[in-house]
Amino acid sequence: MNMKPVDAVIIGLGWTGAIMAKELTDAGLSVVVLERGPARDTSPDFEYPRIVDELKHAVRGDLWQPLARETVTVRHKPGDIAVPYRQYGSFILGTGTGGAGAHWNGQQWRASPNDLRLRSVYEERYGKKFIPADMTVQDYGISYEELEPHFDFFEKVAGVAGTAGNLRGALQAGGNPFEGARSNPFPQQAMAPILSSQLFANAARELGHQPFPVPAANSTGAYTNPYGVRMGPCNLCGFCEGFGCFMYSKASPQTTILPILRGRSNLELRHNAYVTRIVLDDSRQLATGVRYIDGDGREVEQPAAMVVVAAFQLNNVRLLLLSGIGTPYDPVTGKGTVGKNYAYQMVSSTTAFFGAKVQMNPFVGAGAAGQLAIDDFNADHFDHARHGFVGGAMVFAGATGGRPIVQMPLPPDAPRWGSGWKSAVRDHYAHSSSVATMGSVMAYRDRYLDLDPTYRDAHGLPLLRMTFDWHPNEYKMTAFTTARALDIVRAMRPERVTQHILQPGDSYDIRAYQSTHTTGGAIIGTNPSNSVLNRYSQCWDVPNVFVMGASSFPQNIGYNPTGLVAALTYFAAAKIRSTWLKSGGPLVQA
């Protein structure tokens, strides 16, 4: 079945798809968005009380991508047999309207300026030998100053609540002193810290750190964004991650962008449309559209003059590989770029057990609002010379909720069942709090994505294969940053402290949730030999294909990625509108 040609087809209706749909329809293009999952909106899909069901949403994951139909395979190193990620654990994949942006927590960070030119920063400050030979990190080739207006705008779109730390170069009390200079304060005031954050902040200040509110895309007031879309104040319901927000408080495509796209005559949203490939012409340098399977199982061809790949990071990479765009990365020769530089995050948690004297009410919480962080040990905010590793971690505290199936903090030596388990649950559920580190993971020559030779999805297409394990650099990073978290937790004076931290030699364990911040595989760079995309997220090989999302990060950062993902998307959209729609062709000469 062939559809009428359109100016642009967008694959995926998460954050980046929604932003591009807005920008391209504003520019007058006819746009079709193909979303593989179902249509979902605040009402009726996220309505109270049905939505606040921990088993359905945070355990079974009814809003997540059904792994039964499509998953990834994982192995620790080249040469091993990869096996499927059969059950949810390490990371969570979105589907449907809003994608993972419908059920995220809402921690909306900017990247640190030095994250964007990481290789240059380390080589300039610590010498060329500091970065290990197998660490394939590189610069974005985009400056923080270029992205700043887009970070700023997306904060306004999402109604981010926070406290400025660096306003046009002037440090501000109460904010993050390490952040890049911002042109404007956050559009909304930070929420007052909840108790677990207060205890963290008091201890952190005692140790000379500068705690500040986690930038929260959880609205703290009645707010109208630049598009005229309204949000309401967060009530700290404790059901953010895994759930859609019933309060119109958590920023998502549904609550910030999609309402104004409704009724646009040059936009069509098609759900349950599973794109199987981007179609190229004989030159293989021009995409002519996409092929997809619709909700009735029919194969449909949608011709388009440009293709925006706006699915989740892993799916973006898989779609490029399935479509034969670019050259697949070869870890032996180091040649090829598609699938290169897959990276992740390394997290730890340090838990304070206070006993009955501290009443925590852990169920009072939000994905980001009310939380506090320190940024002293992240990015290149401290001298790495004597530590011998690259990167760092944001250290944060607060509570996203006290949902008792999953969010039950017990000491590792507590019995796992029986009367001892019941006692531990009673002793600790309402009397503990955790300080977490979100650590960057660098890119390495032998960590990458390609197509699995064996396992297939529900349509018979190869699954994506992930080859990933930790490297020594990250064990050092987590040891250092988690030790700082431990200092803070000890200063909170609990009865007992326990830690979850990876030790050298521990393998990547896909069974436990760690972070959905998977990155790389279709990275941005300065030339076609080191990257899939140029600085405008445009494919070097097929210049009418643009790829949005964390797949473009050359290596990972110690922050939640959504702020940077959206800023890169707005940056690309601005260039597409100002230049590409007029001139076409490559926006950067190879």
Binding site: D53, P66, I194, F363, I405
Partner: protein, 232 residues
């Protein structure tokens, strides 16, 4: 119309009657051993009578009725488990279930067996029963608490010679699902009367703490609410 507290008293009374009448003769216990707690009245759909006895006797040890919050059986966890077996979850609809299967892959790469949840329960219960017969010459449900604990612990540690890995996988799933049933919204058959939520002070589906943002450190005073609107 009953008030919530009247309804609760009625339910509690019904539960006691059911517990007294539903004890099958097969669950003969020695005078020294208190009988395992029994679930009231619910008739299992998936589990056979023998499997149902195992599930009740196992849940009774995973979350015992020890006076510190409700026991797992009284909370309805066995009913939750039986109902889950009949749902898409039990049939493996939430898991990627295509082969080839590599059960010997590193444990860190997650579950790699071919069994759906309901198949793993059937397999794992049979393994547990064989272990009970081999060590004590009796069905699992007829063992005293200490003996049941020993069988469960050997399954947990994968120490059963022939089927260690399968026993461990079953035990891990049973434990995970038992906690789910204990703490999930009561609509799924467990957490009866929201007893598990009351025991820890979780207010369930209230999900509105606007007035508690600046009252940190005080004990939250309201009892739980279920998604159905029922109050605990």
């Amino acid at each position: 119309m009953n008030t919530p507290s009247q309804r609760r008293m009625f339910l509690r009374g019904a539960a006691q009657i059911a517990m007294a009448s539903a004890l099958p003769a097969a669950v003969a216990t020695s005078a020294a051993t208190p009988p395992p707690a029994r679930a009231p009245q619910y008739q299992p759909t998936y589990f056979t009578a023998a499997e149902w006895a195992f599930v009740n006797a196992a849940v009774d040890r995973l979350i015992p009725d020890d006076g510190n919050g409700p026991g797992g059986v009284a909370a309805g966890v066995p009913e939750f488990l039986d109902r889950q077996m009949e749902l898409p979850y039990g049939h493996g609809a939430y898991w990627y279930m295509h082969g080839p299967f590599h059960p010997d892959a590193p444990a860190t790469l997650g579950y790699q067996m071919r069994q759906t949840p309901r198949e793993l329960y059937r397999l794992g219960i049979a393994i547990g029963e064989r272990a009970a017969q081999a060590t004590h010459g009796k069905p699992f449900a007829q063992l005293d608490a200490a003996a049941r604990d020993a069988v469960l612990a050997s399954m947990d540690r994968g120490q059963l010679a022939a089927d260690g890995a399968q026993a461990a996988a079953f035990f891990a799933l049973l434990l995970r699902n038992t906690r789910e049933g204990y703490f999930a919204d009561p609509q799924y058959g467990g957490n009866r009367d929201m007893g598990a939520w009351k025991a820890i002070g979780f207010p369930g589906a209230r999900a509105d703490f606007t007035d508690w943002i600046d009252q940190q450190g005080k004990r939250y005073p309201y009892g739980p609410v279920a998604i159905s609107g029922g109050r605990g």
